[in-house]
């Protein structure tokens, strides 16, 4: 064998050794991994490979209706997880939404899946839109950092209370801070009208309770209306109508009686007149000269183009949106 015929063999051997040096250890590791997985059922092997994430997908697959489309609402970091969830859930049909806002912006689409799965990096779970919204709000920052607490009082009314979403990023909530300055525990009865939902709270002596979304946290609903608060002890409190999407907050007045005299002021867009019947009986009020009946505890709104004249045994106010998205309230005198 001369030097020239030896050369390709040496070169070939070198090349092969370079490949074996990288492939062989990995091949051995893969074989050993396969040997470890061998005694397990196939799905358990997947769980072993992919961890609790796969277990959560498996659980979700059992839980979901097979013929109903599912919205996979993923966090920005959970998109990859959603893509694989989609793979393992098939033939269940899915649609991916990155973030809750993406889902709510599609609210008017007839084909929008009603069933929702929340997708995180490490797990997936069936959920509801309200739960996702609450998760986001809880994780977010409250708009009002230093609430202006009122003088102590035991009974008052909030003319508007809401937990609602508009088109993204509009998110309307009531941020509440309730302080009990007395040495006795305060038993508080909160009624959300016009549905008449009632919830009772207790605030320990000298304590303060804070809420990022008072209506949803108390009643578990996303709705709007007005609120009656009755306490066994005088409370110092601040309730803000907040638009999380614009970091906008308006301190709500504590209403104690009917009022309709709204001062004339410039209005912008999405201007609405709100009329609240604080009474247990039906009343008739006059709006721009027209008599209108209101059911007991009614909360009614309609669009207006200027501040109308209102009279009667009701509480009336106007809300208008500035071009920057901020909500201005025109309260009655």
């Amino acid at each position: 064998m001369n030097g020239r015929s030896l050369m390709p063999r040496i070169a070939g051997a070198l090349l092969f050794l370079s490949l074996a040096a990288t492939t062989l250890p990995r091949l051995v590791a893969l074989v050993n991994n396969a040997r470890a997985l061998l005694p397990l059922a196939y799905d358990v092997r997947r769980e072993r490979q992919m961890g609790p994430w796969y277990a959560s997908v498996k659980a979700l697959r059992r839980e979901l209706p097979p013929n109903e489309p599912v919205a996979l609402v993923a966090t920005p970091r959970g998109v990859e997880s959603a893509v694989f969830a989609n793979y393992y859930l098939y033939p269940i049909r899915t649609r991916l939404f990155v973030g809750r806002n993406n889902y709510r912006d599609a609210a008017n689409e007839p084909a929008l899946p009603k069933t929702i799965a929340a997708v995180y990096v490490n797990h997936v779970e069936r959920t509801t839109y309200d739960a996702l919204r609450d998760r986001d709000l809880r994780a977010g920052r409250r708009v009002v950092a230093a609430p202006q607490l009122s003088e102590p009082s035991t009974t008052f009314t909030l003319p508007i209370a809401a937990s609602l979403d508009g088109p993204a990023p509009e998110t309307f909530v009531i941020e509440a801070t309730i302080a009990n300055p007395t040495p006795s525990a305060a038993e508080i009865r909160v009624t959300f009208w016009p549905k008449g939902l009632v919830k009772t709270l207790t605030i320990a002596p000298g304590s303060t309770a804070a809420y990022y979304d008072f209506v949803h946290q108390l009643f578990g609903v996303t709705d709007r209306g007005w609120m009656q608060v009755e306490s066994s002890q005088p409370l110092r409190a601040a309730f803000y109508f907040v638009n999380r999407g614009h970091d906008d907050a308006t301190l709500l007045p504590k209403v104690t009686s009917a009022a309709t005299d709204i001062a004339a002021a410039p209005v912008y867009r999405d201007t609405k007149l709100f009329v609240v019947n604080l009474n247990d009986t039906a009343v008739t009020a006059t709006v721009s000269g027209n008599p209108i009946p209101f059911a007991p505890h009614a909360f009614v709104s309609w669009p207006v183009t200027n501040v109308p004249r209102v009279s009667g045994n009701v509480y009336a106010f106007v809300a208008t949106r500035q071009l920057n998205g901020r909500t201005d309230f025109l309260w009655p005198r």
């Binding site: 090349l15 492939t23 990995r26 061998l38 489309p69 959603a82 049909r93």
Partner: protein, 431 residues
């Protein structure tokens, strides 16, 4: 196990039905023909199950009625070591494939998902492809997913464990194709060792993204490109009556086989169309007037692909044709694009010393057989230039794109690279 049986029986059967050929080539032809015919059938709304039944029936009839010539090929006793070296990782990969569930990214996110969709709906333009469910890369070609759908459909199971054999099958068939073709064109030992090198390349054997244990389509594309490339060099050796092609089966119509490989390329991956065009241009110098048939086949496949794409919404894939005019605004990407392949060729954990060997071999091979080496170098250079052009024009973050794709794109030109090494080895030994 049904998936294994279907993979091992169905595709080679279809491949053998169109002529005597090696097992590897038969598998690749079978997979290509099955996928292509089902795609065309789906396009004109012929039920896929009926189309598959007809394909199978015709294959069986054809095999049963074709006379078999005795195998006159020379035995190759000097390749036993190389054969053992080739078989060893394949046995290990078979064991791993049997036990370990699929865990790669693109395979699950795109390719096998499509196979599931087709198998479930038995259509290539049903609700799955029309936005009823998440299909992130809706416009990706679906030849391999159609093969996968056949396996899933026959096994009545949408679980990916049935389909895993297909991808290992492509590596095995590719290795056998390389072994047989380089064995015939250069020497049996060169063929055997080239195949051994192929299955030991980390990027092919053990790489989680793109290797035989994943469900990417790059090995399939590389195998189809290899088939077309070998037809080219076969065409060259045929025209010159090269001594090394003594086992050459002259009855095989090279131009028609070349045409089939090109059609498979177009329908396998988006990269397949430019690859087919490059091979078609080089093929024009080899086949001369006979290039018409491959050109027609490529055109039909491309038109079929575009018609299908026009019927369904696009996913989030990049529209390369729309991007190309923007390339001049993205010249800062050019540096990354030019450096991409040299940098990845030197990635030792993915390629060992392979690409260094290829560069040296290219220089030597040009002195051995200028024409063959030129074809191999032209294919590699043209494809890498096109891929670099796409990197320049991309809207993705170019460094990120290169990081996840460059090694897989290098896989596509592995057959010409192996050919250069084989030619250089042959030369050095024969001096």
């Amino acid at each position: 196990m049904i998936g294994l049986v279907v993979t091992l029986v169905l595709f080679p059967l279809v491949g053998w039905s169109i002529g005597r050929r090696s097992a590897g080539e038969a598998f690749l032809f079978g997979a290509g023909i099955t996928g292509t015919l089902l795609f065309l059938a789906g396009l004109v709304h012929i039920p896929l199950v009926a189309a598959l039944a007809v394909i199978m029936a015709l294959a069986i009839i054809r095999i049963a009625t074709t006379s078999r010539n005795p195998d006159t090929r020379h035995p190759t006793p000097d390749t036993r070591l190389a054969t053992a070296v080739m078989v060893a990782p394949l046995i290990a990969l078979t064991f791993i494939t049997t036990i370990t569930p699929l865990s790669d990214f693109d395979g699950r996110a795109f390719w096998v998902l499509k196979a599931k969709g087709i198998a479930h709906e038995r259509a290539i333009d049903g609700p799955f492809f029309r936005g009823a469910t998440l299909d992130p890369r809706n416009h990706y070609p679906i030849l391999i997913p159609l093969d996968g759908a056949v396996i899933l459909g026959v096994s009545h199971d949408l679980d990916d464990r049935q389909i895993r054999w297909l991808y290992l099958g492509f590596l095995l068939a590719f290795a056998l194709l390389v072994r047989e073709r380089i064995g015939r064109l250069v020497s049996p030992a060169a063929g055997a060792w080239s195949a051994a090198i192929l299955v030991w390349l980390p990027q092919f054997a053990v790489e989680g993204e793109g290797g035989a244990l994943s469900a990417y389509n790059d090995i399939a594309l590389a195998a189809f490109a290899a088939g077309a490339f070998f037809e080219l060099v076969d065409g060259v050796s045929q025209s010159r009556g090269l001594a090394v092609s003594q086992d050459f089966d002259a009855s095989q119509p090279r131009d028609r086989q070349f045409a089939l490989w090109l059609a498979f390329l177009v329908l396998t991956k988006s990269e397949g169309l430019p690859f087919a065009l490059v091979l078609l241009i080089i093929g024009a110098f080899v086949f001369r007037k006979r290039i018409a048939i491959p050109a027609i086949a490529t055109t039909i496949a491309a038109i079929a692909l575009f018609v299908w794409r026009a019927r369904i919404p696009a996913g989030d894939e990049e529209d390369i044709l729309r991007m190309l005019p923007t390339v001049f605004c993205k010249l800062p990407n050019l540096g990354y694009a030019i450096a991409a392949f040299p940098r990845h060729m030197l990635l030792f954990p993915r390629w060992g010393l392979f690409w260094i060997a290829v560069v040296i071999a290219a220089v030597v091979a040009l002195r051995v057989d200028r024409r063959m080496a030129t074809i191999a170098i032209s294919v590699i250079a043209a494809m890498l230039a096109i891929y670099a052009g796409v990197y320049t024009a991309t809207d993705w973050v170019v460094s990120d794109l290169i990081a996840v794709t460059a090694d897989r794109l290098l896989m596509h030109v592995i057959a010409p690279a192996l050919m250069l090494i084989a030619l250089a080895g042959y030369r050095t030994k024969s001096i």
